[in-house]
């Protein structure tokens, strides 16, 4: 069977790709488009390492088919910094040592941005619950939560 020809918007720019039906958006990003910033930790929706937004909604890219994103707007970690300027979340993650191995970091950042877009002033508990779908085995979450709260503060002031 022929591959699907898909046209979408990726980090603000038009993109086209071919994919098999069973190929997930995660596989398309990593294997076809060579955007390996989005990580695979489980491929079954359980870890959040593959978090991206599709049409502004936070999703696991491993649970979206490539064929489904026709005409959609996709945002990945590679589009988070604007040009050479890091997003405040990226900056705070660095300053707060909120990453150890860093494999969960792209997904955490995308998920955290999605939270702050909806709730610019979240409580610690709200951050913890929003990020519950993003597993981190290294940090015990302390510094991730600290960094998100600090970034929220900075973004409110800006």
């Amino acid at each position: 069977m022929a591959k699907h020809h898909v046209t979408a918007t990726l980090n603000g720019s038009p993109v086209e790709f071919l994919c098999e039906t069973q190929q997930t958006l995660l596989e398309v990003l990593r294997d076809e488009l060579n955007l390996t910033g989005t990580k695979e930790g489980c491929a079954t929706g359980d870890c959040g390492a593959c978090s991206v937004t599709v049409g502004g909604r936070l999703v696991c890219s491993c649970l979206v088919l490539g064929a489904e994103v026709e005409g959609k707007r996709i945002e990945t970690i590679e589009g988070m910094a604007s040009g050479t300027e890091l997003h405040p979340l990226q900056q705070k993650f660095l300053e707060h040592a909120a990453l150890q191995c860093g494999i969960c970091t792209p997904g955490m950042l995308i998920a955290a941005r999605s939270l702050l877009e909806r709730k610019p002033d979240p409580t610690e508990e709200e951050v913890r619950y929003w990020l519950a779908g993003n597993l981190c085995r290294c940090t015990g979450y302390n510094k991730i939560v600290d960094a998100v709260l600090a970034a929220a503060g900075e973004m409110r002031r800006a």
């Binding site: 695979e40 590679e78 040592a97 191995c101 860093g102 969960c104 085995r137 290294c138 015990g140």
Partner: protein
Amino acid sequence: MADTVLYPERELKVVGTQPVRPDGVPKVTGLAQYGADFTLPGMLWGRILRSPHAHARIRAINTKKAEALPGVKAVITAADLPEQKFDYVGPERVAINFWHMTRNILAREKVLYEGHALAAVAATSKSIAEEALKLIEVDYEVLPHVIDVDEAMQPDAPLLFEDMITRGVQPPPTKPSNVSKRIEFKLGDVDKGFAAADEIVEASYKTKPVHQGYIEPHACLARFDTDGQAEVWSSSQGHFVVRTFTSRLVGMKVGDLRCHAAEIGGAFGGKTVVYVEPIAVVLSKKSGHPVKIMMSREEVFKASGPTSGASMTIKLGVMRDGRIVAAEGIFKYQAGAFPTSPVMNGCMCSFAPYDIANVRTIGYDVVCNRPKTVAYRAPGSPISAFAAESTMDLAARRIGMDPIEFRLKNIARPGSQTVWGAKLAHAGFAETLHALQKHPGYKAPLGKNQGRGVAAGYWFNGGGESSATVHVNEDGTVVVAEGSPDIGGSRASIALMAAETLGIPYENVRPIVADTNSVGYTQATGGSRVTYATGMTVINACNKVIDEMCVRAAKLWKVERADVIWEDGHARPAGKRAGEFEPLSFKAIAAKRTATGGPITASAAMNAEGQAPGFSAQFCDVEVDPDTGYVKILRYVAAQDVGRAIHPGYCEGQIHGGVVQGIGWALNEEYIYDRNGRMENPGFLDYRIPVASDVPMIEAIMVEVPNPNHPYGVKGVAEANIVPPTATIANAVHSATGLRLTDLPMSPPKVLAALDSARKR
């Protein structure tokens, strides 16, 4: 934020600050390359066929149909790997037997656990590779299996190796068994000790195997060239280990294999061995294409990791004044499908925090039909500590003593005798307990259904072999090439120590983890050894650079080397020439390299000794829901002797991370098997590691009792923190409910069953 308990010390400028890590930006922009992120032209996808059975003889494997599938470029089985000699090699605590290792990479006579690899394919797409696996025909003779450690030790248990005779027993047993080895440590006379004790406390415990749970599955890319040279990019804790193991397993010269350390997405001990690398190399050799292999999460659970489950009994003899006069521990650890669990560490660490005159620990290393265990953060110690520290709590209760006071009464101090013969050479244990005791939360009142528990834990920490080269650039910046894969920010610590030593700004030091052909041999990142041993190696190389900088300054000034000293990042004339010239900065000398003798670079290599042990003491408050058995962690305080926090942020992060892993181990994590020995929960949804909303902020107390053997006092911080949590929580649950849980995990059904049976009584 953490309390830092400071000890007087010489003033440091850079060490102890918290700059952004040198490898940070690519990790927040998605550009850092981890094991699965590499590609090469013409690359194929490798996939591995795994056993659906827990135990079976392989009668035949037929790969013809798979080979015939269009797009399939190579299919391999164990026949494509050379046979290895049966021989235990290396230090006893971590002995290796390549005869076993090659059988774990690809099964030969038998498959020994569900998920055991037995063939592999390389194809032009993932889906073709997947399809090809289904075409491989395996004729199995299914055999009875055994999962549990106590059952595996029964005389009539199914045998994994029909000829395995227990080592360490004199005279050797005549009958084969699943017990690969027995070890015993003795100090004093335990029988006499128990006879003299006022009180004797004894209890038995069980733990389940738990997985390291790193978020990045094992992944690698390999390229084998027709001239016999090969290159591997993989996610591992030690690319030199990958080289040693892979070259041996594949049967190639060490010098022909170049290994790169990809960024690594967590490991905790689980990436100190190889699984996919030799397979990828052989597939590449056979197909003539580069081959990439990525394990799925299910493969990670079924075929990599975990650490041992265990069955243990502890007996303590105590006096009414709190002195422990005798301690005995029997530890039966699962090794998984092949020998060598961390039981020896368990035997050594269990009572190591304490000065006890009479101690005996006995360990059994037991094989069973589950994945071969591999190191997990302080391997072996958290398991035996669960039993030992739970029993310590029972003993403190028996004599009515505060658990911290009880531990302080017996705490090991420099000069205390360990069960394995050495004397404790370092301070820090008592200081850590004192710091914990002083935490205001320790005396805070508790509410209904709430309880507080205390436990402590010991870890050796590591030294070992490291190499590093420091290159001075013409503008005074520096590149440090070292060989320790960086899992949690070690490049930041390395750069801090180099900057401190050289007297230059942190940002002027750029550390890299060099590949096996670009730096000297370096042991794996493990045992909390990197900041200590690789750090010391880098400091040594920096000191050589300083010496060379002084030589260059002497040349520029036309004075003798002896008349130049290095101070505060500058060469200064000294002795009889003192004050004759303006001091020369690091940068100024670097700029003159061509005129003064050419490139300035220095290497150091060492087998570091003198590491100091790690010690952690913790308390936590829990609330137990009497109707559901749910244990909520209300507060968690962890004190640890860190020697010196080089980068306090990453140091503290180790404590947070280790504690939260320990919380998972205590409450929910376990391998669940069905009747056929198949794992029922090989995914993150049902293998329940803690999520962000499960845990409170972990309060870390970094106690700094510097190690005098390291220029900046480093002790190593990554592991001791995971030793106390399971007992800390069990002790807190006891305090909340009056019930002693002896079986991990303390999952809600178990807690509720205990509560219910107590209510019935």
